[in-house]
């Protein structure tokens, strides 16, 4: 369906993009869409796997349906963050703000058969977080959080768990040492670690 058969197309024409079927691509215009045409789809939800310097050409490339392989195989490069186009999806700012503040991280409990996810932005303090963690695994183990102590104990088998987290640098730290906001910023995952294993952290 592309025009490449028997034709020599410049590399800019062979970029992987998601074009509208039958979309007319007019003659090259400056970046920024000053011509006022409908925004090329590549400008919108950006599924391009290409370098940013070539982005300007992609919306003007002259292929019908846009599904062409990028020989540069940008598999080595991570896909760029998806651009949010103005007006799409049709969600009010107040709703977008509710979502934006999500910081989901994985939580594991040593010995529990599954991981959970928790949104750190939902809580304002360590106490709230620990209460939530206790609830989260209450169906699995009967752990309890002791007030003023940042640890959990399972009264059934007497095992103590310490809440630990992996920070941005990949180090495992004890939960509770840094101010709350700083913790939220740097925490990448949580682990309720058996006390006996948390030797290096104390």
């Amino acid at each position: 369906m592309s025009k490449e058969n028997g034709k020599h197309l410049p590399e800019s024409e062979t970029k992987l993009t998601l074009g509208l079927p039958g979309e007319t691509r007019g003659p090259t215009t400056e970046v920024g869409g000053k011509s006022g045409t409908k925004r090329g789809f590549s400008e919108t939800i950006d599924l391009n796997v290409e370098s940013s310097s070539e982005k300007q050409h992609s919306k003007n490339s002259d292929h019908d349906d846009g599904f062409v392989i990028d020989h540069e195989a940008s598999a080595s490069r991570p896909p760029p963050p998806k651009a949010q186009v103005v007006g799409w999806p049709p969600v009010r700012a107040s709703r977008k703000n509710v979502m934006k503040s999500c910081k989901f991280i994985k939580v594991g409990l040593d010995g529990a058969p599954y991981l959970r996810k928790v949104d750190l932005e939902m809580y304002n303090s360590y106490h709230q977080l620990l209460t939530a963690l206790q609830d989260m695994f209450s169906s699995c183990l009967t752990i309890r959080n002791f007030l003023n102590e940042r640890k959990f104990m399972d009264p059934v088998n007497g095992i103590e768990y310490l809440p630990t987290y992996e920070d941005k640098d990949g180090d495992w730290m004890l939960v509770g040492d840094v101010p709350w906001k700083m913790f939220v910023e740097s925490c990448k995952r949580l682990r309720l670690m058996k006390s006996s294993e948390a030797i290096g952290l104390r």
């Binding site: 000053k34 979502m99 304002n124």
Partner: protein, 573 residues
């Protein structure tokens, strides 16, 4: 027709209340027109620039309640620059000067200044009700003026406004002898609230029926408030976090048992799902539940809550409920009339939250469903056809597939046939929003079958001008048409310019319309304002180049000509 004195006709007209019906009355004959206009107290103006305050009062001197709408709908999605317009001040100022006995003001998408609110609060001694939806431009200082000066205030309802919170003591400005409050909604406020003041206000408001709190109100205060106001009918919780083993939580459970009148529940802006069971006794009476601002409640907890809500008529939730959750809704909420499913994660468009399966389940289980807003990952024609068969009573059908041009994943075809089935089966359809891969064909169906359609929203759709023309020619009752990023251009715009006089407005952005064509519409139709909105660098836009495409065009009928408050970047042709 035998002769009745005016007073008798007027008395009969008192029973005719809706805006549409009153308009119909006024068209019967001159005599009825006169009686109707002299007795109309509630006036609805869908576009504040269609008429002026002076002419409004000239026609309706008995006006007591005014509803005004400003910016076009797409302003909700940041497509309209903030200062575009929609100022309420001239209206309030004019009404104040003319000594209108204003009791109620309802505004949507308007710019409201503190100055306007202060003037409002001082000018109308009988003022009772202020409802602001999606407005901006004011601060809590304006609210303080309303609280302090409106002695008869019954309703202060703030929905999704952008309010600059000065963290002042606006709530304390309600005088101690103010006991008339029936409805108070400040959920959209971001700042702190004086909790003791709030408790005292609730305690002295025996008629309080609606109370929606903001995030700054903790569960502890909620519990105290509920003890003082068990008569509440509509409750929006603030922050819903506490230790489930605490005394506060126990007290809350007791308080809620006494709240037998709650029919509408919302809030849970911060939430510990473990504490939701306190609300189970309330759930069985609920007719309206809005958890769309509660991303902290995950699928399984949502389902546990919803199982109790057997009388539910309206449900607003996030898509983390999943298709399975919707199937549960379908089996428990047989009275459901309105469903809105909002997206919970816009950054990860790949994950499957809800799909066509959830919608089909709902349509099969909820025969009374008539209003839908559904954000989903994908949709199939087969599903839409099934939905149309199951629910032929849709009045509002708004589908938003997050990937806007996504085809039917099973057949790789556009969704023309699916939407076609919807418009053909739903003979009462008044509002429709399209998404997904769509050709001109869907518009052919809409033009053919959607006879009652009043509002149509289009994005990333169509192939040629024919699409838009099918709609303009076919939908006789069309009032609002809004189009973004679609293949419609000058031919579509110009073929029947007279049509726009029968509509409230037309919005076209990022389409193929040229400046020259817009100028022609303006020339041919002096009863329309044709506005070109040009936010980018002014020098790039050449006013004489008729060939250039127009970024955003908004045209609307008006009786008062071009407005005089348009900002620089808005050009009325």
């Amino acid at each position: 027709m035998s002769y009745f004195p005016d007073e008798v006709i007027e008395h009969v007209f008192d029973y005719v209340t809706t805006h549409k019906d009153r308009n119909a009355l006024s068209l019967v004959c001159r005599w009825w027109y006169r009686i109707e206009r002299l007795s109309r107290q509630r006036v609805f103006i869908g576009n504040c620039y269609a008429i002026s305050p002076e002419r409004t009062l000239a026609r309706f001197p008995a006006l007591r309640s005014l509803t005004l709408k400003g910016k076009p709908h797409f302003a909700d999605f940041n497509l309209v620059p903030q200062d575009w317009g929609g100022f309420v001040f001239p209206w309030i100022e004019n009404f104040a000067r003319s000594r209108v006995a204003l009791e109620e003001l309802r505004l949507k998408r308007m710019i409201v200044s503190d100055e306007s609110l202060e003037l409002l609060s001082r000018s109308f001694p009988n003022f009772k009700s202020l409802v602001l939806v999606s407005c901006e431009g004011f601060t809590t200082d304006g609210l303080a003026a309303i609280a302090a000066n409106c002695r008869q205030l019954r309703e202060l309802d703030l929905q999704e406004n952008e309010i600059d919170d000065h963290r002042g003591q606006w709530l304390s400005c309600f005088p101690d002898n103010c006991t008339s409050l029936v409805s108070l909604n400040f959920a959209c406020l971001k700042g702190e609230i004086n909790l003791a003041t709030l408790e005292r206000l609730v305690a002295r408001s025996p008629n309080l029926k609606v109370l929606r709190l903001n995030r700054a109100v903790p569960l502890d205060t909620l519990q105290k408030i509920l003890m003082k106001a068990p008569q509440l009918v509509d409750l929006g919780t603030g922050s819903y976090l506490t230790d489930p083993h605490s005394e506060t939580y126990s007290k809350l459970k007791i308080a809620l048992l006494k709240c037998q009148s709650i029919r509408s529940l919302s809030g849970f802006l911060d939430v510990l799902p473990r504490c939701l069971p306190a609300f189970y006794p309330v759930c069985s009476n609920l007719t309206s539940l809005n958890l769309s601002y509660a991303p902290g409640i995950h699928g399984s907890e949502l389902i546990k809550l919803i199982r109790h809500c057997v009388k539910l008529q309206r449900l607003w939730i996030l898509d983390c409920i999943g298709d399975n959750g919707l199937a549960v809704v379908a089996s428990f909420c047989k009275e459901l009339q309105e469903l809105r499913v909002f997206p919970s994660d816009l950054n990860d468009i790949g994950h499957a939250a809800v799909t066509e399966e959830g919608l089909v389940a709902i349509s099969a289980g909820c025969p009374k469903l008539h209003s839908l807003l559904y954000f989903c990952q994908q949709m199939t024609n087969a599903a839409l056809i099934t939905v149309a068969k199951n629910c032929p009573n849709f009045i509002r059908f708004r589908l938003c597939i997050l990937d806007p041009k996504k085809l039917d994943p099973v057949t790789a075809k556009p969704l023309d046939e699916g939407f076609g089935a919807i418009v053909q089966a739903c003979k009462s359809l008044r509002r429709l929003s399209l998404s997904g891969g769509l050709t001109d064909q869907v518009f052919l169906y809409i033009g053919m079958y959607a006879e009652q359609l009043e509002m149509l929203s289009v994005a990333f759709a169509g192939e040629s001008d024919k699409g838009m023309l099918y709609v303009l020619n076919g939908c006789k009752k069309l009032r609002k048409l809004e189009i973004m990023d679609s293949a419609f251009g000058d031919v579509a715009l110009l073929t029947d310019v007279g049509k726009y006089e029968t509509m409230r407005s037309l919005w076209m952005s990022s389409c193929e319309v040229t400046l020259g064509a817009c100028k022609m519409v303006a020339r041919k139709m002096p009863s329309l304002n044709v506005e070109i909105i040009n936010e980018h660098d002014q020098t790039e836009f050449c006013p004489d180049d008729d060939e250039q495409k127009v970024e955003k065009m908004y045209l609307y009928r008006t009786m008062v000509g071009p407005r005089n408050d348009a900002p620089e970047f808005v050009w009325t042709l």
